[in-house]
């Protein structure tokens, strides 16, 4: 609640009317931080692509989990810092999280359906049936 009051006092963020000219919004990163974050994101991307070409990772089964973790790290960093969810009103995080959770549920449930369906699919392949 204190956070909400703070957000209201500062007009959310984004230089709303009422913000003094040149006012630095409290708790927000500066340009240097944004550039550092971009460098980190670029490094993660390079690691992702490099990981793709390392054969033993694919053979040992760690490639997919590694790529998912790296991708999730990039996702969270962009949402948290560039989209300012880390500093913004907590309710905005909840709104986005609901959409994200439903989206993940769609992907996972359809993936599970696919894991079941191939039995029927394979039957048709084996028998040549329609």
């Amino acid at each position: 609640m204190a956070h909400r009051a703070s957000v209201a006092t500062h007009g959310g963020h984004g230089g709303h009317p009422g913000s003094a000219a040149g006012e630095h919004l409290p708790g927000h990163p500066g340009q240097r931080t944004y550039i550092n974050i971009a460098i980190i994101l670029a490094i993660i991307t390079i690691v992702e692509v490099a990981t793709y070409y390392i054969e033993w990772m694919a053979d040992s089964g760690v490639l997919v989990p590694t790529l998912i973790v790296l991708s999730a790290a990039k996702f969270v960093t962009v949402v948290g810092y560039f989209m300012h969810l880390k500093f913004d009103d907590r309710r905005l995080t909840w709104i986005f999280a609901v959409g994200l959770v439903i989206s993940l549920a769609i992907v996972i449930s359809l993936k599970i359906l696919m894991d079941v369906h191939p039995i029927d699919y394979a039957l048709r392949l084996l028998t040549g049936g329609e």
Binding site: A8, H16, P17, F82, L110
Partner: protein, 242 residues
């Protein structure tokens, strides 16, 4: 609760300057209505792309299996996807997120020139990404023979990446509109919320590509194939064929 609401009302409900100075009415939540709406839209767009990604994940393996069974036609993902090329595209879009947030920081501190430079840079990087996607699509179609209806991989791939490209296109148009408004002197520090809202959309386009790049381009589809193969083995056992 009452303290917070009273504070919000005292400051014009999140607009800071009070109703008499603000072009928009105060909000009961303390959050700008337009910003709230954009976050709601982005949440719904998550579900939209979730459906498209799930469809792609399902169909890419089917295309491979059909080809292996002699019942389908290529080309297949590993035959056409160019990882180094797409990595550069992903990097370009990632850097456009940096220029976007720098544009927001510039407008928030009243730096008009900086705002214009970073908005132009973001729109340019977005256009480069779109140009890369156009080249990729035409290359797949002309050189590899992968059309929208060639096979299930083509259908799901073009649908997923095409819708993302459409989002990027809309984003570039919005960025150029902002730049146009700025050049006409209509984008002052007080209107920073407009840059912030379009920035939210732009960053969302970036995070969707982060997911697509990993799931579509980097993660091999062996898992899907093995799943189908397991299904085939199970079916063969059921039929007494093995």
């Amino acid at each position: 609760m009452s303290t917070a609401v009273a504070t919000a009302e005292a400051h014009g409900g999140g607009h800071g300057g009070g109703a008499e100075h603000s072009p928009h009415p105060p909000t009961s939540t303390g959050i700008d209505h337009r910003k709230l709406l954009m976050w709601g839209f982005l949440a719904s767009d998550c579900m939209f792309f979730g459906s498209l990604i799930a469809t792609y994940l399902i169909y890419r393996g089917r295309a491979e299996e059909l080809v292996a069974a002699g019942q389908g036609s290529g080309p297949l993902p590993h035959e056409v996807l160019d990882i180094p090329y797409t990595s550069v595209s992903a990097f370009v879009l990632l850097m456009s997120s940096l220029t976007m947030v720098l544009a927001l920081a510039a407008v928030q501190r009243g730096d008009v020139r900086g705002t214009r430079i970073w908005l132009f840079a973001t729109a340019t990087l977005g256009s480069i990404f779109l140009g890369g996607q156009y080249f990729e699509f035409t290359s797949f179609y002309k050189e590899d023979g992968l059309g929208l209806t060639t096979n299930m991989f083509g259908t799901s791939f073009y649908t997923l990446t095409g819708f993302h490209g459409a989002h990027v296109t809309i984003g570039v148009i919005m960025l150029l509109s902002l730049l146009w408004v700025s050049l006409r002197g209509g984008l002052r520090q007080e209107q920073a919320i407009n840059v912030e809202i379009i920035g939210l959309y732009w960053h969302f386009v970036d995070i969707v590509w982060i997911v697509i790049f990993t799931l579509v381009y980097l993660i091999p589809y062996d898992d899907d194939i093995s799943t189908i193969s397991e299904g085939a083995e199970h079916a063969a056992r059921l039929l007494g064929l093995s």
